[in-house]
């Protein structure tokens, strides 16, 4: 069973209204070709879950500039003017979440946990509307899992079974987001035959990967 598909197939898996986990950080380690194809196709009403909304014309930001996103969950939007403009004019719903919390929420979804407790955000606006759980005399925020329909991942190398290797800081959120979607699609620079990757070297095992899109 091959996991390799072409770009058009990958795009056809993402519907209007889909929630999408986008790996990458400030456009590094981001599935840029898939994003470009999504922009071209114009798929609308996406929910974007990402560490940062990158730049107006680079990374995930292009989807916001093109008004294909109506909800964002992110920790940082400061590098992308379009996000802020659309948030202010009310056309884009933005939830800002501390980065470590967001990653734990995604990991929880991928790991079958019902949530995690953290002190991050206690006593700040982040705590508003959230359940506080006291454990042995200390308060914690209960942070719920965040999964999605699709994860768009960027890897450096993959074997045909979907085992993934990343490059330097382009690893970032990719291994976590790869765990937490119904379908995980990976844009990959190089696909090698099974057996060519050292089992010690694999960061994301193929069990998390549904589709590979060659560069």
């Amino acid at each position: 069973m091959s996991k390799i598909i072409q770009l058009e197939q990958a795009i056809s898996l993402i519907n209007s209204g889909s929630s999408v986990l986008f790996g990458g950080f400030l456009s590094v380690g981001c599935a840029e070709r898939i994003i470009d194809a999504l922009v071209k196709k114009g798929t609308k009403d996406l929910t974007m879950i990402v560490i940062a909304t990158d730049y107006d014309n680079k990374g995930v930001g292009k989807l916001i500039t093109n008004r294909q996103v109506n909800k964002v969950i992110a920790s940082h939007i400061g590098t992308n003017k379009a996000t802020q403009t659309q948030m202010n004019d009310g056309s884009l719903k933005v939830t800002l979440t501390p980065q470590g919390t967001l990653l734990e929420q995604i990991r929880a979804a991928g790991s079958g946990l019902g949530g995690v407790l953290t002190e991050t955000g206690l006593g700040t606006v982040v705590a508003e509307g959230k359940q506080i759980v006291n454990v042995d005399g200390r308060d914690y925020l209960l942070e719920k899992p965040i999964g999605a329909d699709i994860a768009l991942i960027k890897a450096y190398k993959a074997d045909e079974k979907g085992n993934l290797v990343y490059s330097k800081t382009a690893r970032n959120s990719n291994p976590i987001m790869a765990m937490a979607a119904k379908k995980t699609i990976v844009e990959v620079d190089e696909i090698v035959p099974v057996g060519e990757l050292d089992p010690e070297q694999i960061i994301t095992p193929g069990v998390f990967v549904d589709y590979l899109v060659p560069a």
Partner: protein
């Protein structure tokens, strides 16, 4: 005073707080200056929250690696002994108390150790990024900033008015005018910048300052 000199004075002073073998996370902007003044006899490892321990110097122009950036999006190199990891582990390191020191900028900080550095309602909402986790998790939180804002108004307050980044987590504040420690008794003035008088300092500090009898200077 010249901005570059202010930056350097603060960077040098904070670098003195480091110990050999420390793991350190520097916020973007002014805090990065600290990396330029590490005492020669010690070695510290800098983390960047996007997934690296052991950030090296900036690369030479033309030798940038597109897959190698820091939390501010700037190109970096790696130091010998560096490691890459995913951002979830990066924040496990941060939140789990494994970072000896973080140095961050501030919009406001108060005498209770509260910090506001992530938004100005209705004006600037960049998001907290990793700041809330850093401030909550690092063993020591040091604030590096100019003492007053660009209009000369106090940023060191009795109580923060902007939305908080975290409550009661700041240990030390280092500005161009003073070094101040948050203690159980209040905000303790530890050192004053050479050439600054206590009156000048009080005039641009809203917080109540505990002033000891013996007050060393720094930055001379």
């Amino acid at each position: 005073m010249d901005k570059a000199l202010i930056k350097k004075k603060i960077g040098i002073r904070i670098a003195q707080e480091l110990s050999d073998g420390d793991f350190v996370n520097l916020g973007i902007g002014l805090p990065t200056e600290v990396a330029n003044h590490i005492p020669e006899e010690i070695e510290v490892f800098f983390q960047s929250e996007n997934g690296i321990m052991g950030v090296g110097a900036a690369p030479k122009p033309g030798s940038e690696d597109k897959d190698l950036i820091n939390a501010g999006g700037g190109y970096i190199t790696v130091k010998r002994g560096a490691s890459y990891f995913d951002t979830c582990l990066s924040f496990a390191i941060i939140r789990g108390g494994h970072i000896d020191m973080t140095v961050l900028g501030a919009l406001q900080v108060d005498q209770h150790g509260n910090l506001a550095n992530w938004m100005i309602p209705g004006k600037l909402v960049p998001g907290m990024g990793g700041a809330m986790d850093l401030v909550t998790g690092a063993k020591r939180v040091i604030i590096a900033m100019e003492h007053c804002d660009k209009y000369g108004k106090a940023k060191i307050l009795k109580s923060c008015t902007l939305p908080l980044t975290a409550k009661g987590q700041v240990s030390l504040i280092v500005t161009d005018k003073a070094v101040m420690e948050i203690t159980g008794q209040g905000l303790l003035l530890k050192e004053i910048a050479a050439g600054t008088t206590i009156e000048e300092l009080k005039a641009c500090t809203e917080a109540d300052l505990l002033i000891p009898d013996h007050l060393p200077t720094f930055g001379d």
